[in-house]
């Protein structure tokens, strides 16, 4: 599968790319919304764009769509620069977080709107009708054609928004937190649906989300955006297991980040020197430890080799398939340990008692804080 990549690192991706951004910047007065963003989105792929609120992810999407102008840089669609092409001639679909359906039109008229009103479409009424019915069927809205869009549920509205966009056969579909307005149950179902529909049509989805689980589950590639800059681009497992810096790791919500510094061949923290497999990049001062890769043992037990930290047990939280336990380091920092119940029976810890945390030296990452991490 082609890789979403930071342009310049992966020159070969251009041939199969639908969208390329070259050093795109956008300012609102003195505020930098997008800071020198370059990326390539491959053809026929599901790309997830992950970022916290205020990271610039929605601005990035709106800039690509042509709703916002950019202050610097070039956006290229299928090899053609589109900086000056207005939104309606970019052939980019957009699915809004609030769906933005046409409230005065029925379901079928919403879906048919683009085909009926776009000047580029050369289809007669029968052909439009056939396409619209097929699309309504594909997204599972059959039977609701005549309903007003204000008279259907949130999930159904989401499907109308999707059908309305897909029926115009855009080269690229931008989805702005498309699941944000749905409840949790519906969200997980729509995740699967979105993937299925995209694979059927072979179109590229660029899906913006603030949820790391959604991004990791949906994307063939994941782009992590932080404070207007690209923090990392990679495949989901790569981003998950090898976050580039502490910002990305913090964002993934499954890493313990321990402050300290590299000393010789170890990492000095909590008055100890933890052994490291690799030294990490220059200026690295964060020891990142995935929550599900930590073993808990009574003091002075467990494996003799490898890194070890003494902790005090605080509390546990049961969350269905796993148990999350919280331990306190001597410095007061809290370490989170996740135990999947499918692996073994839950361990029972006593509050206030001391334990030792151990892990494989290869599992720990030494990370820099991240260049974008301004105060």
């Amino acid at each position: 599968m082609p890789m979403a990549s930071q342009t310049g690192r992966n020159e070969g991706a251009v041939g199969g790319s639908v969208l390329r951004l070259d050093r795109v910047s956008k300012f609102y007065g003195a505020k930098v919304a997008l800071d020198d963003v370059s990326l390539t989105v491959p053809d026929n792929a599901y790309v997830a764009l992950l970022g916290a609120s205020g990271s610039g992810k929605t601005v990035l999407l709106r800039t690509i769509a042509g709703f916002e102008t950019l202050d610097r840089g070039v956006i290229t669609l299928k090899g053609k620069p589109v900086n000056e092409v207005p939104a309606h001639r970019r052939a980019i679909g957009f699915v809004f977080q609030n769906f933005a359906l046409f409230p005065h039109l029925s379901v079928v008229d919403n879906v048919a709107f683009g085909l009926k009103n776009a000047p580029g479409v050369k289809l007669d009424a029968r052909a439009i009708d056939t396409k619209v019915r097929a699309m309504i069927e594909l997204v599972g809205l059959s039977g609701l054609e005549g309903r007003a869009v204000t008279a259907i549920s949130g999930g159904q509205r989401q499907r109308v928004a999707l059908a309305r966009t897909l029926v115009t056969e855009p080269q690229l579909v931008l989805l702005d937190e498309p699941l944000g307005a749905l409840d949790a149950n519906l969200r997980s179902r729509m995740c699967g649906e979105l993937r299925r529909i995209r694979e059927r049509l072979g179109v590229t989805f660029l899906h913006v989300t603030g949820s790391e689980t959604e991004a990791l589950a949906m994307g063939d590639q994941v782009i992590v955006l932080d404070q207007g800059r690209i923090a990392q681009i990679g495949q989901p497992d790569e981003v998950y297991t090898r976050p580039l810096d502490a910002r990305v790791a913090r964002f993934l919500n499954c890493y313990n980040l321990i402050e300290g510094r590299v000393e010789g061949r170890g990492f000095a923290t909590e008055g100890r020197l933890l052994p490291c497999a690799q030294i990490g990049p220059a200026g690295a001062e964060i020891y990142a430890l995935r929550q599900d890769l930590i073993e808990v043992a009574p003091p002075a037990q467990g494996p003799n080799e490898g890194p070890r930290l003494p902790v005090t047990f605080v509390a546990s939280e049961y969350s269905g398939p796993s148990i999350t336990s919280f331990f306190k380091l001597p410095s007061g920092a809290v370490i989170t340990v996740e135990n999947h119940l499918s692996h073994r029976d839950p361990q029972v810890f006593e509050p206030g008692r001391s334990y030792d945390l151990t892990w494989k030296v290869d599992d720990a990452l030494i990370l820099a804080r991240g260049t974008g991490a301004r105060a």
């Binding site: 957009f94 809004f96 933005a100 046409f102 005065h104 683009g114 776009a118 000047p119």
Partner: protein, 281 residues
């Protein structure tokens, strides 16, 4: 707070206030049923009659009292109000649409437009008359007076549309663009249907204001009188209850217009509600 005492006092005061507002109109309505042609525009009522209403429509035998010169004026006023409504609403929608984007000089433009409703009719009327004179332009109700009616009503349409666009969700238009529909067509097919209730309000404003306008018209129209000018002309001479009857009829006409507007609005609201009820069902 002495609310228990104060509230009823203020309630009574408000009732008196409403009496103050409506009293003259009630007296006017009562006197419009004065007998004619001898009965004058004052109490006591000699005999109840609809003489003066018939007088308005020329149904009475000729008497010493000249009929109100209103029929031509009525036609002119309606035509003028209609022209004004169309132009002012179009200008109002366009300007408010422009204000949806930030642009340099927007503050100046805002005050320039609002000035149109603030500057008294005497002043613009006089200025326009002077301007027309020195350029040798004839003054007509459909020319010089019409442009001033637009100067007066366009700000109201602009402010109404500004309020409407404030509550308008722009992503709906962006959705249409992203489907390949150009901005012009998007406006016709999406924006306009959605702002239509607001446009209707703006039109109602413009129509009633223009229909009743007379200070600007007095200076800027030529010989042909509009309805308010015809009424103003009666100020100088003796008045008769026919003008009261006319006042009652025009009020009823205005209220009927207001009623039609209310019905149109509640229809569109009810359509929205019916949709909501379906959703809950």
């Amino acid at each position: 707070m002495h609310a228990p005492v104060l509230k009823p006092i203020l309630a009574v005061y408000t009732a008196l206030f409403l009496l103050f507002l409506y009293g003259p109109l009630l007296v006017l309505a009562i006197l419009s049923f004065q007998s004619g042609p001898e009965g004058g525009p004052q109490f006591p009522i000699v005999e109840w009659s609809t003489y003066w209403y018939r007088d308005l429509f020329g149904l009475n035998p000729p008497s010493r009292i000249a009929p109100l010169p209103i029929s031509d004026g009525l036609v002119r006023s309606l035509a003028l109000a209609l022209m004004t409504t169309v132009v002012s609403t179009v200008l109002g929608v366009m300007s408010a649409q422009a204000f949806r984007q930030k642009f340099t000089g927007s503050g100046f433009v805002f005050y320039l437009i609002v000035l149109g409703m603030m500057v008294p009719g005497v002043l613009v009327g006089l200025g326009t008359a002077l301007l027309a004179n020195s350029f040798g332009i004839d003054r007509h109700w459909w020319g010089t007076a019409f442009v001033l009616h637009v100067v007066y009503t366009f700000p109201f349409a602009f402010l109404v549309m500004l309020a409407i666009f404030n509550r308008f969700d722009p992503t709906i238009e962006e959705a249409a663009w992203s489907l390949g529909v150009p901005p012009g067509r998007t406006f016709r097919k999406v924006t306009f249907p959605l702002i239509f209730p607001g446009v209707l309000s703006a039109m109602l404003f413009c129509f009633t204001l223009s229909y009743d306008e007379f200070a600007r018209t007095l200076f800027a129209s030529g010989r042909d009188l509009t309805l308010p000018l015809a009424i103003y002309g009666t100020f100088a001479v003796e008045i008769h209850p026919n003008i009261f009857a006319f006042g009652v009829l025009t009020t009823l006409f205005s209220l009927a217009l207001l009623g039609i507007y209310a019905i149109l609005m509640s229809l569109s609201v009810r359509r929205a509600q019916r949709v909501l009820v379906q959703e809950e069902a």
